[in-house]
Structures are given as structure tokens and as C-alpha cells.
Symmetry: C2
Subunit: 338 residues, 2 copies
């Protein structure tokens, strides 16, 4: 391994190897005292403020191509992605910084539209945009635009949600169909008609808040790069539990299946940008799903459960009752998906 | 104005117009309650934690070309730049996140070297790297690498330094020669031999700490994009004071002057990446400069003073005693300088 490949950007195995074997070993200070940082590889890092309050911080770069797509654009994606990284930790987002790198010759009208999309999402949740940066690169050195966001939220110690919290007996809920963002981006990159399909790009803050009224959420994860396959594997590995999911309960829209068939890709490996997997005690699951459906999440479903057996593994029970392992995706399925 | 030009990335007038006239008016929530955000355009935003403690946060994207240069590389630059944005607010840096966007085909050895440079600076100041992101873009869509950093620090309310704090009678100190980073980058882009000149890329945290032992620092600013000319104009404008600086006291190395002459650029408009302008009460200035010189900042100097006259203006007294206005630079002097 001597050069960077697209697979290193996939969020999958190669990505984790590059980070865990090559970059992270160079870092001695991986967290602030009492906090959670690089070692945990959660969606946000945690800084301990005082005995009761924690700050959650997250940072991501968005390079999606195309920058405008059905259901959103790079600005909406950046805002939602960052809010979601805070929300899955149980944090309430407070403030936001954005740095924009744009190429010379980019249309200011497009920049305005992207910026407006981002602000619209932030203001819906009363999140302040408190700072950032803007750089311009000459023609030929950057295709269009990269947005990097930094989100800051607060979380009470007792409400922190982490990936190691799943317990045998928990059930897993998802708030909607999988792979819709990935399918839209993939189809557009391949020149396939997306029909009425839209990216699921949206904030899942409401979903986490709704569920947390019922119970302490044991784990929450948004299945972005690497899709449901990657997210479930991370949860199983970090919580040291087995996971079984049922093929006929995982909501996949027809259009997503059609695009995946044409491209030869598993929908479970395709990124979502507005979905969250919640691990909750069994007794609350039905009520949470029912309320989610009532609130417009029509495809919200219980997709599986957590087992003591097969720790670290994710098993799919197919519609005919057979079982197969779901592995973390390898290679780069769709470049520049987010 | 319908497309982005290199001048929009300069940190100068066009940059401020794009932000202040086009983007910022779309934002309603520009700060968290009791904090300082977009409206202040300081080097860091401020979030109020409680009545006594503030959090400083900053985010910047680094696109410098070439990525390796005498005196540093894009990793060292990213770490120092972010530390400096916190330091000029009087904040103590605590934690750091970095997101790296790199092109397919980039050498992993170069990525390691850049990452190591960044970590070396952070660990020198006991700053933890707590999170981040890595994305890969296909060949042809990004030239090499972009690093975006997010720095988080804490500052006691009484120690917050802001750009509006200069007072008539204050004197202005700089900790070393101006324009050395800009001159190195410019020369390399033009293919001019840089000789023994190195970028001044370094942290100015020690400098601010040293000065703050003597007195409350009234204002601190690192003259990056737009150089001393931009930084002094911002200080004069925000503090509503006049500034006079003396040409023969501003340290400019011969090599910087030679490169500027060849390129037809004013050294006062060239970026520094390891310099800070401190505004302090006159009675402490000599001692501060003396201690700085003793600590290895051999070119540290008192370069000027703050006046009640000419508020918002920066005047240069030349070596022959004539006066001229120093204006904020316009246009893009050096693309991808940081």
C-alpha cells in the first residue's frame, strides 16, 4: 500500500486500516481528560466540561458529486450530516462553523443557493452559524466545491449515546428506507434516470428525540458511507454483541433495488443521509415505531435484534429463512457520495 | 459579480464583500447566546459556557501550494494556523479535529509526513487530536490535498482578547520579520530561488503568553492573508482608532524584499504564518520586546502606535519622514498561500 486509492475514502475496511494502522498510531493525545476522542471512532468526539455536562464536537468534509441532486444539495447534506453526527450521540446541536473551498469560476448564484440550503437546515433547529472560512483554488486544481463543517453540541452525561451500548435482547429500529441517498448519487454518476427517487438527506434529530422520550437509547448510528452493512458491523463490533436482521423487514424502495441491480451493488452497502439505526429495549420498540409512522416516517420498522451469540457478527435472515453474514463493504462502491 | 475569482479567496476587500454582502445577510443566528460569532469576524468564535468561562472555536481550510516548503508543510501550517487563531483571542488550545481531503494516487508516505508534522506541533502544546474525517477524490477532481482544521480552546472571561480593544496611546509590537511565509510560497510558485529564506510558519502561543504576564493585551492579530496591511486595517477599523507605523522599524528580511521587488508586491501585503501584532499599553512594551528578543525572537520590534486621530486609518511614516496610507490589499496577490 503506497498510494491513496478511492477505497481509502469509502468509510469501509481500507479506510479504517489507513486510519488505525498508519495515522492514529502517530497520535499520543487522542482525547482530552475524561473525554472520548480518536480511540472511540464515534460520530462525535466528547469533551468533558464538568461533572455533569459534556460537549460533543464533530467535523466532516463534503465532496459529493453532483453537488445538486433530487432531495438536496451539498449544503443541505453538510448541515444534515453534521447535525446527525451530533444527534446520534444524544447531543443537542448548538453551533456550527463551515469552511468552503471553491474553484475560481464557480457561479456565485450556485454558492448562494448551496449556502442558503445549509442555513435553512441550521435555522430550523435554531443552530447558530458562528464562524468559518472561505478559500478559492485556481481552475484545474479543484473540480467544484468542498464544504467542511464543524458542529458543536451539548449533552448531559446520563444522555450520552455510544456505539458500545447495545445489549442482548435490544431491538433495532430504522426510520425509513435504506440506500436512497446512495442510489440517487450512483444513478446520476452513471447517467441512469432516477425517476421519482429522492435522496433521503435530512436531519434525524427529531427521531432521536422522539425515541428518547420513551427510554434510554442504547445505541444510535446513522448508516452513511458503507451503508447499513458498515453501520451494523460497527455496532456489533463495538458493543461485542451479535446482530440479526430480517431481509423482509428492511425497507428498500423499488427504485433503489432497480438502480442497485443495474449497478451490481447491494442496497445494504449504499449510504443513507437521513436514516438512523436505534437500539432500544424491546418493550418500547413497537410504540416508538408507531409514533414515528404517525409523524411521517411511514417506512419506520423494527429490522432486527441483538443477540448474545455471534459477538461482532451481523447475520441476515433472508425472506426464505436462510442465513448469511453481512460483511463490512470493501472497495469504493460510489466515489464522492457525500 | 457573477463568478468566483481568485480575489475572493484573498482575505482582502473582495473576500469581505462576498461574505458581508452576499453570504452573511442570509444568516439570522450568528452567535450563541452571550457569545461572539459571525458578526465579529474575529479569528475564533466564542461560546459562553458559564459566567466565567468561554470556549473559543475556529475552523480553517488549508490549500497551500506547494504542500512542502522551506520551514514547513501543509500539516504544520494547519496546526500552527489554528493554534494561532485561538491564541490571538487569549485562549488556551485544548483539542483539535482535522478533516483531510486527498486525491486518488497521492503518496501515502507524503500523507504520513504531513500528518506527522501536524501532530508534532499539537503535541508540543499538549493539544489532543480528538476526531476528524478523511475523504478521497478521484484523479482530476483535486490537485493534491486540502486539510481543514477545527480548534477548540478555553478562555477566562477577563483574558479574552478582541480586535476592538486597541486604545489611543497603545503601542504595537511584532515578534519578527514580515512576509516570510508569503515570500517563500510566492517564490516557489514563480520558480524563483528562495535562497536561505524559510517560511515563518510557527505557533505564536508562547508570544501571547509571554506578553500577557506583563499586562492585559489590548489586541492581538496574526497577519496572515493580506499581511500586515490587512491586519492593521482590521484592527484600526474595529477599534475605531488610528494607527501609525514606522517603515524603518518594521522588520523585513533582505530576501523578502528581493522577492517582492522581483514580483512587484509590497511586503506589507504578504502573509505571515508565525507572527502576531500585539497592542499593549506603552509602559510594558519595551520589557516585552526585550524578553521576546532574549527568547529567540531576535527581530521583535515596536513598529508603531495607536492614535485618537484618523480613526479607521493606517498611516505609514517612511524612513524619510513622509506619510502614506496603508490600504487593505485588493486582488489575489498570491493564490493558495495558506
Amino acid at each position: 500500500m503506497s498510494i491513496i486509492t478511492l477505497a481509502h475514502g469509502s468509510g469501509g475496511l481500507e479506510y479504517r486500516e489507513l486510519l488505525e494502522k498508519i495515522l492514529f498510531p502517530k497520535v499520543k493525545l487522542k482525547a482530552t481528560p475524561g473525554g472520548r476522542g480518536l480511540d472511540f471512532e464515534e460520530d462525535s468526539a466528547i469533551i468533558r466540561l464538568d461533572s455533569n455536562r459534556l460537549i460533543a464536537v464533530t467535523s466532516d468534509s463534503y465532496t459529493v458529486k453532483p453537488i445538486f441532486f433530487p432531495g438536496g444539495d451539498i449544503g443541505k447534506l453538510a448541515a444534515c450530516g453534521t447535525i446527525n453526527d451530533l444527534a446520534v450521540m444524544g447531543a443537542k446541536p448548538l453551533a456550527f462553523l463551515d469552511t468552503i473551498v471553491v474553484r475560481e469560476g464557480f457561479r456565485i448564484r450556485d454558492l448562494e443557493r448551496i449556502f442558503k440550503s445549509m442555513i435553512t437546515v441550521l435555522e430550523k433547529y435554531s443552530i447558530s452559524l458562528i464562524g468559518g472560512d472561505l478559500k478559492v483554488m485556481p481552475k484545474g486544481s479543484l473540480e467544484d466545491i468542498i464544504i467542511t463543517t464543524m458542529g458543536i453540541g451539548v449533552v448531559e452525561r446520563g444522555k450520552l449515546i455510544t456505539n458500545d451500548g447495545l445489549k442482548p435482547g435490544d431491538v433495532l429500529i430504522i426510520n425509513g428506507g435504506v440506500g436512497e441517498h446512495g442510489a440517487v448519487i450512483l444513478a446520476m454518476q452513471l447517467g441512469i434516470d432516477v425517476g421519482r427517487l429522492k435522496s433521503d438527506c435530512s436531519s434525524i434529530l427529531d427521531v432521536v428525540e422522539l425515541a428518547s422520550k420513551y427510554c434510554k437509547i442504547h445505541a444510535a448510528k446513522d448508516p452513511t458511507r458503507g451503508g447499513l452493512a458498515m453501520a451494523l458491523n460497527e455496532l456489533a463490533e463495538k458493543s461485542k454483541v451479535g446482530i440479526i436482521v430480517y431481509e423482509d423487514r428492511i425497507p428498500v424502495r423499488e427504485e433503489v433495488e432497480a438502480i442497485c441491480e443495474m449497478a451490481g451493488i447491494d442496497p445494504l452497502a449504499l449510504a443513507c443521509e437521513g436514516r438512523v439505526i436505534l437500539g432500544v429495549p424491546r418493550e418500547y420498540a413497537e410504540n416508538i415505531v408507531e409514533e414515528l409512522r404517525g409523524k411521517g416516517y411511514k417506512d419506520a420498522s423494527i429490522i432486527g435484534e441483538v443477540t448474545r451469540e455471534n459477538p461482532g457478527r451481523v447475520i441476515l435472515e433472508t425472506s426464505i429463512g436462510s442465513h448469511r453474514l453481512i460483511l463490512p463493504p470493501t472497495g469504493e462502491l460510489v466515489p464522492r457520495i457525500c
